[in-house]
């Protein structure tokens, strides 16, 4: 079979009754375009979400509808070609973070995020994936991490953090209540965040552990759109949890990983339902709200204006909208200001969905970030905090790229710094 055959096969496979209903409901109103940060930033009509999934629509129409078949036979429509796949690969992997904001604004209630994920499934089946994204997938298959965080790197790095930050990081503790799975972005790029989360959990008296089997929460199979690889990486986490007999899995700072483990795993893998899956944002909210940890009120009140970036998968999809606000109202009651739009309406950072891993996507990624620059500057913030390390990587890289005078930090780090003894 050719690449196109594979893609069409996957698109048709994706096109069940539910997808057919979604595609038929579209009125081409264009509201999804206005919601897309890549479209907003560039004005490129090809970045309209409805257009990004055009091949899926075409495959459905031509295969399942009489009109679609007729259109092809009389030359009014054309079949999908290899060149089409390559072009739509760019549209979907360079200029879509699967942030799902388009779904929120669709007046017909179409779940565009899921359809765009279906597009990636077809492109993955055709193996039309950006080379650097695919390299990261392969690295995760072989080494357990897309960032080169091998067993020994993970081991050395956690030991270094535990030693230098003088914090206990329990490893492979059987019978612990909670298994924490860090992302390699945190371990490699934001080690202070690893120390902060450990410090907070220890202070709360949580019975927690990390697992050397489940040492990577990032899921590049999910970015790729491959169900097979997504499941492979999810199973590594679930096997680690099963081996240690924990009750819940805490996903630290990766939005897509949270989406994959919290919702997709529950639908795909029976064993996933044996564990409670929660994001660290929810844990922080629970610990502060219940009084298990106490924070120094106003600890960050004198650092200039602080704003919070809502991550698509953690706040918009995950619903962890209120906890960061409740915490920031304690830490910086006078300094915390909301950027606009915020909460579920927030605009994506531009680096999610694997986009940050694709070098060729840099121009459009930076263009999308300019929307964030305007929003942060509008409230005069000098510090931006968040609960996703992928967003944080996009922010830190863009702050340098645009030479911005901002401090970028993580909420867990702020909580750890403000803990009462």
């Amino acid at each position: 079979m050719t690449a196109t055959d594979n893609a069409i096969h996957a698109f048709v496979h994706e096109t069940g009754g539910w997808v057919a209903a979604q595609l038929e409901a579209c009125t081409r109103c264009g509201m999804c375009a206005e919601a897309c940060h890549f479209y907003q930033a560039t004005g490129n009509p090809e970045y309209a979400p409805v257009w990004k999934m055009e091949l899926l629509r075409r495959a459905y129409e031509q295969r399942f509808t009489l009109v679609g078949g007729l259109k092809v036979s009389i030359g009014l429509d054309k079949r999908v070609t290899d060149a089409d796949l390559s072009h739509w690969s760019d549209l979907n992997y360079h200029a879509c973070t699967v942030c799902n904001k388009c779904s929120m604004v669709c007046p017909m209630g179409i779940d565009l995020g899921s359809l765009l994920h279906g597009m990636r499934a077809g492109l993955a089946a055709a193996e039309v994936i950006p080379a650097d994204l695919m390299a990261a997938v392969e690295k995760q298959v072989k080494e357990g991490s897309p960032l080169g965080m091998t067993d020994s790197v993970w081991d050395e790095r956690l030991e270094w953090v535990a030693d230098e930050w003088e914090v206990e990081i329990p490893r492979d503790v059987k019978g612990a209540d909670t298994m924490v799975v860090f992302s390699s972005i945190e371990v490699m790029k934001f080690p202070t965040n690893v120390a902060a989360i450990a410090k907070v959990l220890n202070k709360a008296g949580e019975k927690w552990t990390v697992s050397s089997k489940a040492r990577e929460i990032v899921n590049f199979g999910f970015y790729q759109g491959s169900e097979e690889n997504t499941k492979l990486f999810l199973n590594r986490v679930l096997e680690g949890a099963k081996e240690l007999g924990v009750k819940r899995i805490v996903v630290t700072e990766c939005g897509h990983a949270y989406d994959a483990l919290r919702w997709h795993a529950a639908n795909w893998i029976t064993e996933a339902n044996d564990f409670e899956v929660i994001h660290i944002t929810g844990v922080l909210g629970e610990l502060v709200g219940s009084g298990r940890i106490k924070l120094k009120p106003g600890f960050f009140n004198n650092d200039g204006t602080i704003t919070f970036h809502d991550a698509c998968k953690i706040q918009r999809k995950g619903g962890h909208v209120q906890e960061p606000r409740d915490i920031l109202k304690v830490l910086a009651p006078d300094a915390f200001k909301e950027m606009t739009p915020n909460r579920e309406e927030s605009v994506c950072c531009g680096g999610g969905g694997g986009v940050i891993a694709v070098k060729a996507a840099d121009p459009v990624r930076y263009a999308a970030f300019e929307l964030k620059i305007d929003q942060v500057n509008a409230v005069g913030a000098k510090t931006v905090t968040m609960t996703c390390s992928n967003c944080r990587l996009q922010y830190t890289d863009s702050v340098e790229h645009f030479k911005l005078d901002w401090k970028v930090t993580g909420l867990a780090q702020m909580v750890a710094d403000a803990l009462m003894e």
Partner: protein, 110 residues
């Protein structure tokens, strides 16, 4: 206790980080914070120390280091290597030089 490093301006956009003594935990944490907030270039002066003394910290700091030129003592160059991955897009160049002049000349070019 003597701090393990001193930060001094060299010229616009370049700071000197001079190693002055053994690393305490607080110094390592302070350096990590500095690296995450500093967007300029760094001249790392290891004069008077041994390569082994700094090796572990340089190795662990490597992924979060700004663009840096190291000189002053012989180091094992393998500690400057990073695993091949897309993450390299976001890592800065860190190199070793025999002399301060060479290090500074290279930094000015970056």
């Amino acid at each position: 206790m003597t701090p393990s490093f001193m930060l001094l301006p060299v010229e616009k956009g370049i700071m000197r980080c001079r190693h002055t003594g053994p690393f305490s935990h607080e110094d390592v944490q302070a350096l990590a914070t500095f690296f995450s907030n500093y967007h300029g270039k760094l001249l790392i002066d290891l004069t008077g120390s041994t390569g082994e003394e700094c090796a572990q910290n340089i190795k662990q700091f490597r992924p979060i280091m700004p663009t840096a030129a190291i000189f002053g003592t012989q180091i094992d160059l393998s500690i400057l290597e990073l695993p091949e991955s897309y993450y390299l897009h976001f890592a800065h160049d860190v190199r070793y030089f025999e002399t301060e002049d060479e290090a500074l000349a290279w930094l000015r070019d970056q």
